[in-house]
Amino acid sequence: MSNAVSDTVPSRIKPVLGHDNKWWWDQAAAGQLVIQRCTSCQQLRHPPRPMCNHCQSMDWDYIQASGKGIICSYTVLHHPKFPGYDYPLVIILVDLEEGTRFTSQLIDCDPDAVDFGMAVEMVMQKDADGFQLPVFKLASN
């Protein structure tokens, strides 16, 4: 039997966690949006992978992202509706100012008002079951 929260409130699909991505989700759980960095050639990469595809180094660390970015593309999902998500669901590709791209959700925005090139900023969202993940809202300025 799983915990009481997930029995009563449908929750989102959780990521499978392996060597190559668990560290990233640990950072999200700690409230941080981070970007993997090759410590050999300093190239940033996302989604995380064990090896740098520029210099083949397996040495890496990560930097904290500012959370600021621009909407590169987006889609508004209406069907099918999966338990644990609110529809219409606005999914965005964000060009982070550090240079990597990130797939996420835009919250607190009328789906009809979303547009390419809009400035967004990261908010760490905590679900009812305690799971944390970075989402975005329109930039305040």
Partner: protein, 388 residues
């Protein structure tokens, strides 16, 4: 280097009925299609010595072989990446035939895509593999279906080039018009007009209901043998002039979102370059196509990948009616995945063969060379068929 040009041909095709509820096993469907392909070629089933299918196909080669009574097998394999395998399986067969690994290879795909495992419902899994870690970056945000992944790319393309909803509708309607006269097709005698298209419900913006392919039960199979041997069989051979697989840098399954440019399909451009080089043909030599069409937007983007028009010009190409029967490039003359059935692209390859034979229900005036592509947004491939 051994060239694959003209080495092998499709000598037989077989399809079951396509439906929304077959009421039987995938093994049953696949067996019927394979036997039909052999019969179409006029070759005894016992002469089949090679079998190839998709990794997503539930029927293993030896299950199929026992079921139909194939001969001893000296070649069998499966190709990954969903509909990207539609050309890949043929590619395997051509290589096997050209190098003498097998004489008569049958490729097949049998699925209960509506009544059983529905691809449109997305992915899930529990074992940690690099593939599942990949999907999890999207699942966690609710991006679970093929429509959601393709919509992201389609939207970016539309934004850059000014493609409209009506343009997507033109693709869907053109293919439905072909399906109207194809008794195998879901869209048989079911017309679609622009008003209905535009009024259909938005699924994953900018993609509406009619931008999505069918979900189907059914099977297709093709028998590939040497061109020389094919000449002695029952049907006119559909000779393979060029064939390749293609996956490019930054390739993900469906979510290649991290490339600098999202408004093109680099893997299709690679496939194009290779099939044209192998065959010695150019876009001007291609009379008709079966461009993979799990979504209408994929047809639009491939018109540019394969050089039928310039970048950003596909909307004009479509607006001019070029995909229709009397247009420059009749496309998916059976109705395609959008309006015939979704047998993971193998039914599009079968239509490519019919076009070369001259037996399509919508046979264009000229079909000397026909280009067929496999899955979009995944590791994929393309093939050019020609008349013997």
């Amino acid at each position: 280097m051994l060239s694959l040009k003209n080495q092998a041909a499709v000598a037989g095709i077989g399809c079951t009925e396509f439906s929304k509820n077959s009421g039987r096993s995938e093994l049953s469907l696949a067996s019927e299609a394979v036997v039909a392909a052999a019969a179409d070629a006029g070759l005894p089933v016992s002469e089949i010595d090679g079998l190839v299918s998709y990794t997503l196909d539930p029927t293993d080669e030896i299950e199929l072989a026992r079921s139909v009574g194939a001969g001893d097998l000296t070649f069998y394999s499966k190709i990954n990446y969903g509909g990207g395998a539609a050309v890949g399986v043929v590619h395997q067969a051509v290589m096997a035939v050209a190098t003498g690994q097998a004489k008569n290879v049958v490729v097949y795909r049998g699925m209960n895509g509506r009544s059983g495992q529905r691809n449109g419902q997305g992915v899930s899994g529990e074992i940690v593999t690099s593939d599942l870690v990949h999907w999890s970056w999207y699942q966690v945000y609710g991006m679970v279906t093929p429509g959601s992944w393709i919509a992201m790319i389609a939207h970016k393309y539309m934004h850059k080039y000014g493609l409209t909803a009506e343009d997507l509708g033109r693709v869907a309607i053109s293919q439905r018009n072909y399906a109207l006269t194809n008794p195998r097709a879901f869209g048989y005698q079911k017309p679609l007009d622009m008003e209905t298209y535009l009024a259909s419900k938005m699924i994953a913006s900018p993609l509406r209901l009619y931008d999505f392919c069918q979900e189907s039960d059914g099977a297709c199979a093709l028998l590939i043998t040497s061109t020389e041997r094919a000449r002695d069989l029952k049907q006119k051979p559909a000779v393979i002039r060029g064939i390749t697989q293609a996956s490019t840098q930054g390739q993900e399954q469906m979510t290649s979102f991290y490339r600098n440019e999202l408004e093109s399909l680099p893997e299709m451009e690679l496939a194009a370059k290779r099939v044209y080089a192998q065959s010695g043909l150019s876009p001007a030599d291609i009379d008709a196509t079966c461009l993979y069409d799990a979504f209408s937007s994929e047809v639009i983007m491939q018109l540019e990948s394969f050089g039928f028009c310039g970048k950003g010009e596909a909307k004009d190409f479509v607006r001019d009616g070029n995909l229709d029967i009397d247009g420059r490039l009749p496309n998916n003359t059976h109705g395609g995945l959008l309006s015939e059935a979704y047998i993971h692209g193998l039914n599009n390859v079968a239509e490519g063969v019919r076009l070369i034979r001259g037996t399509s229900t919508n046979q264009p005036k000229k079909a000397e060379h026909v280009l067929v592509s496999s899955g979009v947004g995944v590791p994929t491939g393309a093939v050019i068929f020609g008349k013997d």
